[in-house]
């Protein structure tokens, strides 16, 4: 038996020359021994390929000529705990036969023999919380939708992964799309939904292609338990990650949020009871139903169960995709797995434009919902960007505020007009011409926008400012105009 190769065929590796590497390997061992797979994790070294040797050993190489051999015993790989990503990188994402051979849809088939309430109960026991950012208990959401009396219910997958610095959901969709479909089909059975939608952002063409292929194949094979799943493509609006805005967008309208209640569980898509979860949440479902809620709940911490996928990027040696147990410390992630900063690590940004910066001295913080929130950041969807000493914090805060200005839908005043004023205030700090009054106004306006905006985008837009003010206030004070004493 000869060696077989798995070549990463995801966005990052494609950008770095995956096609050339694959051609080279095909010429070497024959096309039938080379298969395309999803993310092999260490995106910063792309393109990547893994060799499976007849003796059962595996090696990982990088570079268009496969010239760099990577150490699979490195903590970056060794400390991963793949649950959501258990098949990502092993399975050919375009082949339903390969997915079926590796166990796809087996859990769904088993679930069809169980009562719906049992499935919901299993998810409640797992302690799984929404992986899209807000962290609402998934089981409770399922209970709410299951309890709705309407005959017509809908399951919606939020695949509008818009946080800059986040690519977990893209990796799942590109690497193991059948897992997502299976999770959605189980959810539909559990809550009694008859149709399903995936709302995916247009910026992910490869994920869209893989999902299209997967849905067509799964429908043709009849493995989705009769659930029709439709794709809806976004058109460039971050705010559509907010659930009510997302529903408006699926309905074909402007992606503006509306006040809740009513929550989508009661009145969602076209007024129907709607279960909305994000990609990673659905992708965790097959493993939870296969192994049991208790198995999942045994991982992680008291308030944050299971595993979480993070996209590690920024000023760090090893960038890429990791899945670790909840409660793993930031230090383990950044220093052991990420190999430390490419410069001096100053902070880790989590939660994107809704999150904050954890300073280097607090790297021992465990990654769980409560600990991050206590520090004024959030778990968010899983983007983790390492910031080095070269980056001035007011500038980073302005970067996120500019993002929010560009992405505000304009419906409510505090977000539409308040973020514009916040960006201009931050300009004064970046350009070192601020006054002490500006600092006071910055804090006051942050409080106002946070407390009064209509949806999560506006309510969390001040977070990057507030968190950098909390831990790096000296940088703001140093940015006051010369001669001004705070």
């Amino acid at each position: 038996m000869a060696v077989s190769w798995r070549c990463c065929d995801a966005t990052a590796c494609r950008a770095a020359g995956a096609a050339a590497l694959r051609q080279r390997l095909e010429a070497e061992v024959g096309a039938e021994r080379v298969k395309p797979v999803g993310c092999l994790r260490l995106c910063g070294q792309a393109p990547l390929a893994a060799a499976d040797h007849p003796d059962g050993s595996t090696e990982l190489v990088a570079g268009v000529a496969g010239e760099r051999r990577l150490d699979l015993d490195h903590p970056f790989f060794a400390l991963q705990r793949p649950v959501v990503l258990e098949r990502c990188g092993l399975v050919d994402p375009s082949s339903i036969d390969d997915a079926l051979a590796q166990g796809a849809y087996a859990t769904l088939a088993a679930c069809r023999l169980r009562r719906a309430a049992e499935l919901v109960e299993e998810v409640v026991r797992s302690g799984l919380r929404g992986r899209g950012g807000a962290g609402y208990p998934t089981g409770r959401k399922w209970q709410l939708v299951a309890a709705q009396s309407g005959a017509h219910k809908v399951v919606v997958c939020n695949a509008d992964e818009g946080d800059p610095g986040a690519f977990m959901d893209r990796s799942v969709m590109e690497g193991d799309p059948h897992r997502l479909l299976e999770g959605m089909a189980i959810a539909a059975q559990a809550v009694g939904a008859a149709e399903a939608y995936i709302y995916v952002r247009a910026e992910y063409p490869l994920a869209i292609e893989r999902l299209r292929t997967a849905i067509a194949a799964a429908t043709e094979r009849g493995v989705l338990a009769g659930l029709p799943i439709q794709l809806r493509i976004g058109a460039g609006a971050y705010v559509c990650g907010e659930e009510t805005a997302l529903l408006h967008s699926i309905e074909g309208g402007r992606g503006t949020p509306r006040p809740r209640p009513p929550y989508p569980a009661v009145s969602g898509l076209w007024g129907l009871p709607t279960l909305i979860n994000n990609v990673e949440t659905f992708a965790a479902i097959p493993a939870i139903l296969r192994e049991g809620g208790d198995w999942y709940a045994a991982m992680g911490t008291a308030g944050s169960k299971g595993t979480k996928v993070f996209a590690l990027s920024g000023a760090i040696t090893h960038t890429g995709l990791i899945e670790v147990e909840m409660g793993t410390s930031l230090r383990t992630i950044v220093e052991a797995m990420g190999g430390g900063g490419s410069g001096v690590v100053k902070a880790v940004q989590t939660g994107g434009p809704s999150g904050g910066c954890i300073p280097a001295e607090l790297l021992d913080t465990p990654v769980d919902y409560a600990s991050l929130q206590e520090l004024g950041s959030i778990m968010g969807s899983g983007g983790m960007v390492v910031i080095d000493a070269a980056m001035a914090m007011p500038e980073l805060a302005r970067y996120f505020m500019r993002f929010c200005v560009a992405e505000s839908c304009g419906k409510c005043l505090p977000c539409r007009a308040g973020t514009v004023q916040l960006e201009q205030l931050l300009d004064r700090f970046v350009e070192k011409r601020a006054s002490p009054a500006d600092l006071a106004q910055l804090e006051q306006l942050c409080g106002m926008v946070k407390a009064t905006s209509l949806c999560g985008l506006g309510q969390s837009a001040p977070n990057p400012v507030l968190s950098t003010l909390r831990f790096f206030r000296a940088e703001y004070e140093a940015a006051l105009a010369p001669g001004v004493v705070p």
């Binding site: 966005t11 990052a12 494609r14 950008a15 770095a16 260490l42 995106c43 910063g44 792309a46 017509h152 992964e161 818009g162 946080d163 800059p164 610095g165 986040a166 690519f167 893209r170 247009a202 910026e203 992910y204 063409p205 439709q230 794709l231 809806r232 493509i233 976004g234 058109a235 460039g236 609006a237 971050y238 408006h248 967008s249 699926i250 309905e251 074909g252 309208g253 402007r254 992606g255 503006t256 076209w270 007024g271 129907l272 996209a311 990027s313 920024g314 000023a315 960038t319 890429g320 940004q349 994107g352 983007g383 960007v385 390492v386 080095d388 970067y399 993002f403 560009a406 992405e407 839908c409």
Partner: protein, 129 residues
């Protein structure tokens, strides 16, 4: 803006306004006004609603695009790794470009998307141009 709950729509791919706008843009490269008018008539929707939706989303173009399309990623990883310098280099060379909030190729930061292909490299070099 639909201010009243819409009646349960006939479900099916292609029945939403956003989907139809995607189809028009795919065919014409942008959303010509006469096509928006035709779409409003076909879907029996008010003109202002069609325009309201078309102008809301950043990927919908209301004017014809150039021959090549260059989109610079403004994601956090790209920002931390010099996307602002990348934009400056492009401006210096007179290259027209759009921006995206994040294309999700953070491991390769900074990146841009040139005619649909993700490229990365030194912000000062621009080897692909």
């Amino acid at each position: 803006m639909a201010t009243k709950p819409e009646p349960p729509a006939p479900h099916g791919l292609g029945d939403s306004l956003v989907e139809r706008l995607h189809a028009v843009q795919q065919q014409h490269g942008y959303l010509p006004p006469e096509e928006l008018q035709r779409l409003a008539r076909a879907m029996a929707r008010p003109l202002s609603e069609v325009m309201g939706v078309a102008s809301f989303y950043h990927l919908f173009r209301l004017v014809p695009p150039g021959l090549h399309r260059c989109v610079v990623c403004r994601g956090t990883a790209c920002f931390v790794r010099g996307s602002e310098r990348l934009e400056a280099s492009l401006r210096q060379r007179g290259v027209a470009f759009e921006t995206a909030s994040c294309v999700g190729a953070c491991g390769q930061a900074p990146v841009l998307v040139l005619d649909g292909a993700v490229r990365s490299g030194d912000p000062g070099e621009l080897p692909w141009l």
